[in-house]
């Protein structure tokens, strides 16, 4: 239930982020016992690189506290959609915070909004939509893969979000978003291999007073076809973009500073003829200087997807 609102202490059943380091964190369920493969109920022990955690011990602990592992320690954090995105069980490729933030901003999602999402996928984006629209709005999320829809539905329930979301198992490209949703949505988001097929359904689902549309596509051809369809149906403010987040690695670097001025002065006593060139080097005075620097990591995300946004203007006849 730890996604519903800010909490101070870990309660039984909460999803908790066990934070070991920037590159190592885990989402664990705060239950004292689990059922193993043989069907036996056993104490819930979670293994990490820094040893094991007896999960029972963290129930009742304040979020943000340090907890002891058998070979070290970690911090327990309340999950946010950002942390969840980094720890969730991947069922599909997921969209990350930089793209998601842009999607939420461009779709103008705020409490009270009615949002349609397809596909649900791993539910990463759904958690952001839900944070932004609750407690007064609603998310309708669609996936054509039945087990993914079921898993997502179950997850939302366990996260305390069931009241604000309806999960559908449905092929929206062929069948649309159900008649009940015609004219109901403030915003529609598509992450589909053929978004152009779902654009007419998005058109129907948006309110008569207009609304916003977004499609996320890895390939440019999908965006091209999607935009053709959007243009045909009278969408405007069509914008396509890429957003890439760049991390800066901050560190203190120690750099040698070499002095060459002394070479202008004659050597005092040393012989030069028979020693190798490197003798010079070893005698060269070297100091070091410290710099607080930042640089990009060696490998950056080069592409996530093309984001296409559009507005359905008010009062466009839907027949």
């Amino acid at each position: 239930m730890s996604f519903l609102k800010p909490k101070t202490h870990i309660e039984k059943g909460d999803v908790v982020i066990l934070y070991l380091s920037v590159s190592s964190m885990h989402a664990i369920e705060a239950v004292p016992e689990i059922v193993n493969k043989k069907g036996e109920t056993i104490p819930h022990i979670f293994q990490t690189n820094y040893g094991s955690l007896k999960v029972e011990n963290i129930i009742g602990v304040e979020y943000g506290s340090r907890v002891e592992l058998s070979k070290g320690w970690a911090h327990v954090l309340q999950p946010t959609p950002e942390l969840w995105t980094q720890t969730l069980p991947h069922r599909t490729q997921i969209i990350y915070t930089p793209d998601i933030s842009m999607i939420l901003h461009q779709l103008e999602v705020r409490p009270g909004a009615v949002v349609i999402e397809s596909g649900t996928g791993s539910g990463s984006l759904s958690h952001y939509f839900l944070r932004a629209l609750k407690p007064t709005g609603h998310l309708h999320t669609f996936d054509f893969h039945e087990s993914r829809a079921d898993q997502a539905r179950d997850e939302f329930r366990r996260h305390g979000l069931a009241d604000f979301v309806t999960v559908y198992h449905r092929d929206v490209c062929n069948l649309g978003f159900t008649e009940e949703l015609d004219g109901q949505a403030d915003a529609v988001f598509l992450d589909l291999p053929a978004p152009d097929l779902a654009v007419p359904h998005a058109f129907k689902a948006l309110k008569l007073s207009g609304g916003r549309f977004c499609s996320f596509s890895p390939c440019i051809e999908q965006s091209q076809r999607c935009i053709q369809e959007l243009t045909k149906l009278g969408f405007n403010e069509i914008v396509s973009m890429e957003v890439l987040q760049q991390e800066s690695v901050v560190k203190t670097r120690t750099l040698p500073v070499i002095d060459l001025e002394f070479l202008k002065l004659p050597k005092s006593e040393e012989t030069t003829t028979t020693t190798a060139a490197n003798a010079e080097e070893s005698k060269a005075p070297k100091e070091v200087k410290k710099y607080l620097t930042s640089s990009n990591p060696q490998v950056l995300p080069g592409h996530t997807g093309f984001l296409t946004f559009a507005t359905l203007p008010p009062n466009i006849p839907k027949v």
Partner: protein, 442 residues
């Protein structure tokens, strides 16, 4: 918002977004005499009253006055239907186009109409499509251009003569576009991707209590956060600023319900910190600290929604006059004291996240505000200066008070997607600014 389907109508006192093609402008519709200026065009706004937001109006030249930079035209506006909005290109029906531009010599004499002819045409003829038709007729090279080049020409002309404006209701998205395009410095250079991420990383939503320090964004940051907190929810925002009067233009433009507006408490950083550390003894001991909103609501109601807006727009240049201060004092404790009381109550309860966008070095401000944030809560620090955040990063890392530290910036580029002409836009914005994010520890 979830259930309304009809668009709200334009009212006096509203801030409106005027859109002419891709150009947008934020304008206060203060009275029936209000005019708006778009380049060389002046628009009389009175016919907007009570029309629904999202409507399109046609500009009709009423008179032309000589101005410093050429003629300034005054227009009336008339509500028009969607069918009038045909694309100029379709109206003209251009067909024959050269295969490439090898036969074009650009000697600057391609257009046989003189500029005086064009100006006259413009007064006589209300429709851009007609004007452009004339221009094309009198162009010696138009029909030899490539289709691409023809379209570029038409778009350029259409932009100049386009006679329709749309009136839209301000939203965070539309205002950010306007502010960033007009003068990014006034919103501290916070670009769309960065603002969107401030909202995400701070976790601001309908539940919780949030703390913001910003040194001047035209009200954009508090407006964006209050927008995410929502109407009819339980969230609240303490908005600290370094000046006399908070910058509030974007907040006012959103036209939020009063109950929502009141959940944003704007206070001076120094003043509220002194109140927090030492308050309760010197002043305002008659106020209930536990229920401050009730008390303040009555106090603020008369002056909140629209009337004091001109002052609120550019507060930094004006100092409250002594009379005003005295005037307020006569009625009881001045408003800023009441706001300080409300803020300190929230401060004592601690916050669910902290957003800091300072023109000053963030380090000392962070030191003062970090103790007010609960453990396991997000901290987001924005700066245009990476070097400052590098230092802050190292300080926080050493202190052990914040974990999951990331220093990030963004690369964002828009695309032109057109058949056979798809490419990234040739210009892009160079600066997203930098975000330092992390989570507080106990």
């Amino acid at each position: 918002m979830a259930t309304e389907t009809a668009s709200p109508s334009i009212q006096l006192g509203d801030y409106i977004v005027i859109q002419r093609q891709k150009y947008t402008k934020l304008q206060k519709f203060g009275s029936l005499d209000t005019t708006a200026t778009l380049g060389k065009e002046t628009l009389e706004l009175k016919s907007l009253l009570d029309q629904p937001y999202g409507s399109t109006f046609k500009m009709s030249v009423k008179e032309t006055k000589p101005g410093k930079r050429g003629a300034q035209r005054q227009h009336t506006l008339e509500l028009c239907s969607e069918t009038e909005l045909n694309s100029t290109r379709e109206a003209l029906g251009i067909s024959s186009s050269g295969a490439d531009n090898r036969d074009i010599c650009d000697n600057g004499e391609a257009q046989s109409l003189k500029s005086a002819d064009i100006e006259q045409l413009r007064e006589e003829c209300n429709e851009s499509s007609k004007i452009i038709e004339k221009l094309v007729e009198n162009s010696k090279t138009f029909h030899n251009r490539t289709e691409y080049s023809q379209e570029k020409y038409l778009r350029k002309k259409e932009k100049k003569y386009f006679e329709f404006v749309q009136i839209r209701q301000p939203t965070i998205r539309l205002m950010l576009d306007i502010f960033y395009r007009q003068d990014a410095e006034k919103i501290m250079g916070i670009r769309v991707d960065t603002l969107s991420q401030i909202i995400s990383y701070s976790g601001v939503c309908g539940l919780g209590s949030y703390l913001l320090y910003e040194s001047g964004t035209n009200g954009l940051l508090p407006a964006a956060m209050l927008n995410s907190i929502g109407a009819g929810t339980e969230g609240s925002l303490v908005h600290m600023h370094p000046g006399n009067v908070p910058q509030k233009q974007a907040l006012l433009a959103l036209k939020l319900p009063l109950e929502q507006q009141l959940r944003c408490v704007s206070v001076n950083l120094y003043s509220v910190l002194r109140e927090f550390y030492q308050g309760g003894e010197t002043i305002g001991s008659n106020l209930s600290v536990t229920e401050p909103t009730e008390v303040v609501r009555e106090e603020t109601q008369p002056e909140t929604p629209t009337e004091d807006q001109p002052e609120a727009i550019e507060p930094s240049t004006k100092k409250p006059k002594l009379e005003e201060v005295k005037g307020e004092a006569n009625k009881g404790p001045p408003r800023w004291q009441l706001e300080n009381k409300r803020a300190t109550a929230l401060m004592h309860n601690k916050f669910d996240s902290l957003v800091l966008a300072a023109k000053e070095h963030p380090s000392s401000i962070l030191q003062a505000l970090l103790p007010l944030v609960k453990p396991s809560r997000p901290v987001v620090v924005f700066s245009t200066c990476k070097e400052l955040l590098q230092e802050t990063y190292m300080e926080l890392k050493t202190s052990g008070k914040v974990t999951g530290l990331h220093l990030t910036s963004n690369w964002m580029r828009t695309y032109q997607i057109l058949p056979n002409r798809t490419h990234p836009e040739v210009n892009m914005s160079g600066n997203s600014g930098y975000l330092l994010t992390g989570y507080t520890l106990r």
